[in-house]
């Protein structure tokens, strides 16, 4: 490998980029824009459930219950309805996802120390949303019942009965349960994968289409120098994108790294190299910019989105798809980012994922060399 050759190829590629200002601009701005937009907007949290209530009982106690419901940060009562039928209409139309119905005689049952049923109608279409809402209402009623139990015991003058088990639930790694903390790193991984492969998928195909590949073949440049030189300008662009995105993530969204910044840079360097290499491979194999472009999108975006443990847990997938997740580079990068951002892990824990990414990089480069050799370089 001769650094002078690499520099020459890189400079040529850089001029190409600079001259086509629109592409340069797109290459830099679009990924950043997407990461920021999605990072800002996407969330799987349920802030507060917008519920409607039907109070058939209309007593002091039932009104108090509703007031408490509304005062808790988990619920927002958007309407008080008169009958269950209109609640059904609200659910059907998607105006609300939860209807809480207090049946007549509710207060009387409670006061007589009987079980008083509370009907909750839940729109289950979105299982994630519905599941979390269900958790909220169950927890709310549970704590309401606990208060009632205490006042019951006081009333009867009984000794306090302690709950035998006191579950002290603590959340680790993402203490506020904020989905942004895992969505922002995941989005970075996915967008970089797509953009990295997309950018380089064009560069060698372009030489073929313009017929300049012949010229390059006759130059005293080896395959490795050629690939490296081609990748360097894009590497710099993409790495800048990642760094700016990470910085913005901290400043704008408060997504903080718990472990070392340099570990993240190291991982990004390897990961970006993998994505650029993938694009180059596609470019050599297809020799057509359009086909390369389509291929790059096809094999990067959806697989990285779906099969990388980003929001869809691998454990839920059928076996065959679980196996597929092992060959997706984003899986390992997201694993590393998860370790760095949320768990505060170091190389001692994360080395297997680094190793796999390096392995992928080496394998891809070798395939690239082999393909170029077949082309006579």
């Amino acid at each position: 490998m001769n650094p002078v050759n690499i520099k020459a190829i890189a400079r040529k590629e850089f001029y190409h980029l600079m001259r086509d200002f629109r592409s340069m601009y797109l290459a830099f701005a679009i990924p950043l824009l997407l990461i920021l937009m999605f990072g800002y907007a996407l969330s799987l949290d349920v802030d507060s459930v917008r519920a409607v209530v039907v109070d058939h009982d209309k007593t002091e106690l039932s009104r108090d219950f509703i007031r408490k419901l509304n005062a808790s940060s988990y619920f927002e009562i958007i309407h008080h309805l008169n009958d269950s039928l209109s609640a059904v209409r609200y659910l059907d139309r998607g105006f609300t996802t939860m209807a809480i119905v207090i049946p007549p005689g509710w207060t009387k049952d409670l006061k007589a120390d009987r079980k008083a049923s509370l009907q909750v109608l839940l729109d289950g279409s979105d299982p994630n949303y519905a599941g979390i809402s269900r958790g909220y209402i169950t927890a709310f009623v549970e704590s309401y019942n606990r208060d009632r139990l205490l006042s019951f015991l006081n009333r009867k003058g009984m000794e306090q009965i302690q709950a035998p088990v006191d579950g002290r639930i603590r959340v680790w790694f993402n203490e506020d349960l904020d989905s942004q903390n895992f969505i922002v790193p995941g989005i970075i991984a996915i967008i970089i994968m797509m953009v990295g492969a997309l950018l380089t998928s064009l560069v060698i195909a372009r030489e073929y289409e313009n017929g300049t590949m012949e010229t390059i073949r006759s130059l005293p440049v080896s395959g490795g120098e050629f690939l490296l030189g081609k990748a360097i300008p894009y590497f710099l662009i993409t790495l800048t994108d990642v760094l700016v995105a990470v910085f913005m993530g901290q400043v704008l969204f408060g997504v903080m790294m718990k472990s070392s910044f340099w570990l993240m840079v190291l991982a990004s360097t390897i990961y970006i190299s993998v994505t650029l290499n993938l694009g180059l491979l596609i470019s050599i194999a297809t020799k057509s910019q359009l086909v390369a472009n389509q291929m790059a999108i096809l094999i990067t975006f959806l697989p990285s989105f779906l099969l990388s443990n980003f929001v869809f847990p691998v454990g839920n997938m059928p076996k065959i798809f679980q196996i597929l997740t092992y060959i997706i580079p984003a899986t390992y990068f997201i694993d590393i980012l998860n370790g760095i951002y949320l768990r505060g892990l170091g190389l001692a824990h994360l080395w297997p994922s680094y190793l796999v990414l390096v392995g992928m990089l080496i394998a891809m480069s070798n395939i690239g060399f082999a393909l170029l050799k077949k082309e006579g370089m």
């Binding site: 997407l34 937009m37 800002y40 907007a41 996407l42 969330s43 917008r50 059907d92 139309r93 049952d109 409670l110 120390d113 009987r114 079980k115 008083a116 049923s117 909750v120 839940l122 729109d123 289950g124 279409s125 979105d126 979390i132 269900r134 958790g135 209402i137 169950t138 549970e142 019942n145 009632r148 139990l149 019951f152 009965i161 302690q162 035998p164 088990v165 006191d166 579950g167 002290r168 639930i169 959340v171 680790w172 790694f173 349960l177 989905s179 903390n181 895992f182 997309l198 910019q289 359009l290 999108i297 096809l298 959806l302 779906l306 099969l307 929001v311 847990p313 997938m317 798809f321 998860n338």
Partner: protein, 373 residues
């Protein structure tokens, strides 16, 4: 307007489309692969939660607690640690989702009528899943408490408590597949119709045959119709096949009227075909068109409520999302599939789709004609 000329153009378009072998995978294989992959992979169900336990008490009570956890079908104790540090390490390495620490004095505390602390550590890295796991854990603990109290004090505490009866409608088992698979139909239609229409005109531009088309007696409106009708037919056919597949392969219940879906798809196509036309006017090459399509599809996809609920987005984005035709189509398609509702409920979505579609399509056509003249 001459229907004959339109028909001939449509025929030409079909021949061209199917003659090119490169198009076959795009048209036939890709939709099915996507449907299958999406259908199997998209799932945010909380099931099979892996639990690690350190039981320093090793008594009947601690075993009862673990049994109570195991008896719940979503929890599975997969790791028994010997000391707390080991357990924390396992949680750190993502081998378990939940860690339970039972202290050495667990049983004594319970027997003496005190409260025995049980520390539960939850991996919060996927926060949406974590909050569900936590909710289920507290449910298990509450039930355990109830049965313990009955056992310890040999009596039932009959105080006036609220008994929540939650009935989940439309998707009673909270099955992710029922939510995602109908959505995939919408996403597939969007991707295909956008890609195909934008390419249809760019292809002529790139090949230089657009000039030939212009010098024929074909009028602009006929050109547009001839270029869009084939893709309406193709996407509708695909939609019908994909829906049939969804119903029979993934056994997604279709509660509503199938023809309502077809009607909604037709109106939805107004927007996507319009955007496709628009892209073909601003791009010179297929490649530019491809890129532009991608950057339309991504925000449409992300801000549609397909995966990420619109209600959880920031207000500014929620306002922007009103301009996204896909969101209305998703509401319709999910409404018809899961809720079985009809026009009486879905008319606002139909109206919004119609208005958006007409605006997008007519302005695209106007721009397109100006380009041709």
């Amino acid at each position: 307007m001459s229907w004959l000329r339109i028909r001939e153009l449509v025929r030409k378009e079909f021949i061209q489309l199917f003659r090119d072998k490169k198009n076959r995978p795009l048209l036939v294989i890709a939709p099915f692969v996507q449907l299958l992959v999406f259908g199997y992979v998209l799932s945010t169900d909380v099931r099979d939660v892996k639990v690690g336990v350190v039981d320093q008490s090793r008594t009947r009570e601690s075993r009862m607690l673990m049994d109570a956890l195991n008896a719940n079908r979503i929890f599975r104790i997969t790791y028994y640690a010997n000391h707390p540090e080991e357990l924390e390490e396992v949680l750190l390495k993502r081998k378990v989702d939940l860690a339970l620490k039972i202290g050495p004095d667990f049983s004594e505390l319970i027997r003496s009528g005190d409260s025995a602390p049980v520390q539960v550590l939850a991996d919060g890295s996927m926060s949406n899943m974590a909050s569900l796991r936590i909710a289920y854990t507290s449910l298990v603990l509450d039930r355990f408490n109830q049965s313990m109290i009955t056992e310890l004090y040999k009596r039932r505490l009959d105080y006036g408590k609220i008994d929540t009866r939650i009935r989940t409608w439309y998707n009673p088992n909270l099955d992710s597949r029922n939510f995602f698979v109908p959505g995939i139909v919408a996403v597939l239609i969007m991707i295909l119709s956008l890609l195909l229409t934008s390419m249809a005109i760019i292809r002529e531009k790139e090949a230089g045959t657009i000039e030939q088309l212009i010098v024929t007696p074909l009028r602009p409106i006929e050109l547009i119709l001839g270029k869009t009708i084939p893709y309406i037919i193709i996407t509708q056919t695909l939609m019908i096949i994909v829906i049939t597949f969804a119903i029979f392969w993934f056994s997604i219940p279709l509660k509503g009227n199938f023809f309502l879906l077809v009607a909604a798809a037709c109106i939805f196509l107004l927007s996507t075909l319009g955007i496709g036309l628009f892209i073909s006017t601003i791009s010179a090459t297929q490649q530019q068109a491809m890129m532009t399509v991608i950057f339309f599809i991504l925000p449409f996809f992300m801000f549609s409520g397909f995966v990420f609920p619109i209600a959880s987005m920031p207000t500014a984005i929620q306002w922007i999302a009103y301009l996204n035709p896909l969101r209305y189509f998703l509401v319709i398609i999910r409404g018809v599939f899961l809720k079985g509702v009809g026009m009486a409920v879905l008319w606002p979505q139909f109206l919004a789709l119609m208005v958006l579609g007409l605006i997008v399509f007519t302005s695209a056509v106007k721009r397109f004609r100006k380009r041709l003249d």
